[in-house]
């Protein structure tokens, strides 16, 4: 780590051109702050995005950056990370970029556990193409391309991530600066593919889609901040908690039916078994709070490390290390 101390300003460049009030502005500020907290030198960072509103983000980062093609950011980031594992790579996608056209690359990057910080800005809409439903839009969602409502169920990003053996999944609301910075820092510190679902509002085409978590007050009521090792309490006065019931979870009120804090589940983000973590990640209103924070954070070997370890192992075992020596491993004859 370099000794230079960086501030958020060191990671800023350009003038964002997102619509006023777009959740991407708030997220960008949180990312700048998270990078300052992490302290990685800007020239050792590459921000790689696909196509869509949120994928414009690299232009506002004073780092190396690549604004690529629709859906392929995870694949491009994979090549960059494997070719130069010393880089810290942030891969930025929206819900269309990451889960529709880029769904295949998303699941495989997660499965391989490449050390990428994979940010999924989920506004449940196609903004740049002006308002079509996305793979995270709810069934029945009315949009320009679904004037009578969609007839398909959405992806739930956590489910897809967990299904692809994801080792890190966190969620934040873009407008929640503190919560966002925390999960971004945690994502970057996690070695391996870290998926962060950012609940982000689109003012123009899907305003209010994340209304439930849009303000500090609403989050206190409708969300739960999960912290590893801490009991799962929520509500304005932490008066509610989560307990296990049979195969599922239930919301309880402290003090009712003799329930005390000791009865409340304690979050274990490091648990290898993801069953309960998935349950937490899939919670939604009105019966359950939306889970924010780091939901799963499990260590596992990364693809990029494994690739380079294998290169080292094979290099140690094999006797040829340059082209000329390679030639000599073949059946050679001489014409004299």
């Amino acid at each position: 780590m370099s000794e230079t101390v960086y501030t958020a300003k060191d990671y800023k460049t350009g003038q964002p051109r997102w619509c006023p009030g777009c959740g991407d502005h708030a997220f960008l500020a949180s990312l700048h702050k998270a990078m300052a907290t992490l302290g990685v030198a800007p020239h050792n960072i590459a921000v790689i995005s696909g196509i869509g509103c949120s994928s414009r983000l690299p232009y506002y980062m004073n780092t190396y950056g690549m604004h690529t093609i629709h859906g392929r950011a995870a694949a491009i980031a994979t090549g960059a990370k494997v070719a130069n594992p010393d880089l810290t790579i942030w891969q930025i996608s929206g819900d269309g970029d990451g889960l529709a056209i880029g769904g295949n690359h998303f699941i495989h990057a997660v499965r391989r556990n490449i050390d990428l910080n994979m940010i999924l800005l989920n506004n449940r809409i196609y903004g740049l193409t002006k308002g079509q439903y996305s793979p995270t839009s709810c069934r029945g969602f009315v949009s320009k391309s679904s004037p009578y409502g969609t007839v398909e169920d959405p992806f739930r990003p956590a489910e897809l991530c967990f299904g692809a053996r994801g080792r890190f999944f966190a969620r934040c609301a873009a407008v929640d600066a503190v919560g966002s910075e925390q999960v971004l820092v945690a994502a970057a510190r996690h070695k391996g593919a870290s998926v962060v679902e950012v609940l982000q509002n689109c003012m123009i085409f899907n305003n209010g889609t994340h209304e439930a978590v849009a303000t500090a007050e609403s989050r206190a009521k409708n969300a739960i901040y999960l912290e590893h090792g801490k009991p799962m309490l929520f509500g304005a006065d932490k008066e509610f908690g989560l307990m296990q019931e049979g195969f599922g979870l239930k919301v309880v009120k402290l003090g009712e039916n003799g329930i005390t804090e000791k009865d409340i589940l304690v979050h274990d983000a490091h648990c290898q078994d993801n069953t309960l973590q998935l349950k937490l990640a899939l919670m939604e209103g009105p019966d359950f709070p939306i889970a924010l924070g780091v939901i799963r954070d499990v260590e596992a070997p990364t693809y990029n490390d494994a690739v380079h370890e294998q290169v080292d192992q094979v290099s140690a075992a094999k006797k040829y290390h340059n082209f000329e020596e390679l030639l000599m491993t073949n059946d050679i004859w001489e014409v004299k």
Binding site: H43, I45, I51, Y64, G65, I76, S315, E334
Partner: protein, 616 residues
């Protein structure tokens, strides 16, 4: 040996091994070509295998062939028709007889010519030779039962013993052409190093086949192919095109001092490049088998951005999928080698067969004005030089480069003189230098070459953003400004056009003042050169201009095309190169010879067609 009736010296010989795709014909052919090469013969081989992994045993669709051409002097192709056909079953006889002349010797395994075998090959009678009107000399040996007998004490079961029958056939062929078996034995010991009992069984049967020929005087005549010593001194190996391509990329990465990164997805007939490169981790080669063709190319673009020699390998259908990511490399001006081992198309087409039908696709098959350099390798061994040059041009000119090969040269092999890397030109990418710090922008260009400078992530002072959106040539920021877009379009095209200075002039071989110029490109070189040479020997004035650099075309292309009275463009497509030349050079009249059969050209047919054009 005094008991040999007759020994004839031959200039060259063509042997075609054929049988079920599980019969080991490729191995027999490979060994035969290699042992011939070790005694100084020139070699050219061509495997002709079905798309099915294991078609039903004995069926017509399951026949796999391997043709070997060995010559005292230079051989350029695997040859048209064979002197010897090894047909391990009736299906092989039925499908492969078309490669015979009336003089060809046919070797069969009589044990595999029983009624049931004949039925599987759709013969109506019990005499396939009569049914097909074959009057050739036939060496009919009970190969399977002799293998069984020979190996009865080896501990191998019946099936394993019969599996050695390819070596019996090989032994017989080695007797016929007076080949010493010791090198073949060595090769078998190496191939089956982990199963010495299998190695010894194969060696025993190999010798049995040889002795069978000797003892029974299986043929009235045996043959020798002496080496004329025309091959230049040095060390040689047998190499196929895919391996030569892999080696060329490895050599280029070493010369450039860069990590070689391959992002690829398995596809016939390009997969062997992935296999080959995946082996060489001790050279620091990184291979990523991606989730799809798109990711193979996209990850390579990412690796190029990060500073590697980035390569993606595929065949035609894969190019369709990669074209968007290739275009990203065009607009970001990043170095990338895109290998297209062409096969039969369209769509899935003929996956194991060879064509040159992707030319216009790689030249023009992308949205927008998307200039892309294209190089086509002309032979299995030329794949090395072509791959080296593709990498050199990509790195030095900051552009994706397409390397075209095809199934024929990718799988065909020839004797290759080991290259001395010191003799190869240096590879010097246009890296940013410290003095540029502070006022550098991503699209600042070398005024002479039009090439932008390469700053790699991790370098302090050169942070920048590139991407698929058009950028200002001056600032590197997103720009939709009309004048800038036009300018960038022109600059990208000029950059590629200026590469003409980095490629050699086109050569013309054959008759100096030819009446007919034959024009070709890529993997057809051997056949076209053989046809031109045949015509020259007949006293006909014919020359050959065989193109390797397709975009940009060599500087003297127009001069050549305007010099000759008659020109024929011969290619394994419906006239793509001819159309391209007409577009590039106005006012030329071109004859065409087009064939899209998935098979290599036949020299005899070329000679006939060119003669007609000459005489017209």
């Amino acid at each position: 040996m005094n008991d040999k009736m007759n020994v004839e010296n031959l200039e060259d010989v063509i042997v075609r091994f054929s049988g079920d795709s599980g019969d080991g014909m490729q191995l027999a052919g490979n060994i035969f070509s290699t042992i011939s090469a070790t005694v100084g013969n020139d070699i050219s081989t061509f495997p002709d295998y079905p798309a099915d992994i294991r078609a039903p045993q004995g069926s017509l669709t399951g026949v796999s062939g391997f043709q070997v051409h060995i010559g005292a002097d230079k051989v350029l192709t695997p040859g048209d028709k064979c002197n010897v056909l090894v047909a391990m079953n009736p299906a092989a006889l039925k499908t492969q007889y078309k490669f015979c002349t009336p003089q060809s010797i046919i070797i069969i395994d009589t044990d595999s010519f029983k009624d049931t075998d004949l039925k599987k090959a759709m013969f109506a009678t019990d005499n396939p030779f009569e049914e097909m009107g074959i009057h050739n000399e036939v060496i009919a040996a009970p190969i399977s039962s002799m293998c069984k007998e020979s190996l009865k004490d080896s501990g191998l079961d019946f099936k394993a013993a019969v599996r050695c029958k390819n070596m019996f056939a090989l032994g017989l062929v080695c007797w016929l052409f007076d080949r010493n078996l010791s090198y073949a034995e060595q090769m078998l010991r190496e191939k089956f190093a982990k199963k010495p009992e299998i190695a010894e069984a194969n060696i025993k049967v190999l010798n049995d086949g040889y002795n069978y020929g000797h003892n029974t005087h299986a043929s009235a005549t045996t043959y020798r192919i002496e080496s004329t010593g025309a091959k230049s001194k040095g060390k040689y190996m047998d190499i196929n095109g895919n391996k030569a391509t892999s080696y060329g990329l490895i050599a280029a990465a070493e010369k450039a001092g860069l990590t070689l990164y391959l992002g690829s997805y398995p596809i016939t007939p390009a997969t062997d490049v992935l296999h080959e490169l995946a082996k060489h981790k001790s050279l620091g080669v990184i291979t990523v088998q991606a989730e799809d063709e798109i990711a193979g190319c996209a990850s390579a673009v990412g690796a190029a951005f990060a500073g590697a020699l980035a390569v993606t390998s595929t065949s035609g259908p894969g190019i369709c999928l990669k074209s968007e990511a290739m275009n990203l490399a065009v607009i970001t001006e990043l170095p990338l080698v895109v290998l297209d081992v062409q096969r039969g198309g369209p769509s899935t087409g003929l996956p194991t067969k060879s064509e040159q039908t992707d030319l216009l696709q790689v030249l023009f098959g992308r949205n927008g004005e998307s200039p892309m350099p294209v190089i086509a390798a002309s032979s299995p061994t030329d794949c090395f030089d072509a791959a080296y040059m593709a990498a050199k041009l990509a790195l030095e000119h900051m552009t994706p480069v397409v390397l075209l090969t095809d199934a024929f040269i990718a799988n065909g092999s020839a004797a290759w003189k080991l290259p001395d890397l010191k003799q190869y030109p240096a590879i010097q990418p246009p890296y940013v230098t410290d003095d540029m710090k502070g006022n550098w922008t991503p699209f600042q260009r070398n005024p002479e070459t039009g090439v932008r400078y390469w700053a790699k992530p991790g370098q302090e002072g050169f942070m920048h953003r590139i991407g698929g959106l058009e950028k200002s040539n001056e600032t590197g920021a997103i720009s939709t400004e009309p004048e800038n877009h036009h300018k960038m379009t022109v600059l990208r095209a000029e950059k590629v056009a200026k590469m003409v200075k980095a490629i050699p002039d086109q050569t013309v071989e054959g008759c100096e003042d030819a009446d007919l110029l034959v024009v070709g490109f890529g993997g057809t070189y051997g056949h076209l050169a053989s046809a031109v040479s045949t015509l020259n020997k007949q006293g006909k004035k014919v020359a050959l201009a065989h193109f390797k650099y397709l975009n940009p075309l060599p500087a003297n292309t127009e001069a050549i095309l305007k010099k000759y009275k008659k020109i024929v463009v011969a290619e394994q497509n419906m006239g793509q190169f001819a159309a391209y030349l007409r577009m590039k050079v106005e006012g030329i009249h071109l004859h065409q010879f087009n064939q899209v059969k998935g098979q290599p050209f036949v020299v005899e047919e070329l000679v006939e067609a060119f003669t007609k054009i000459l005489e017209a």
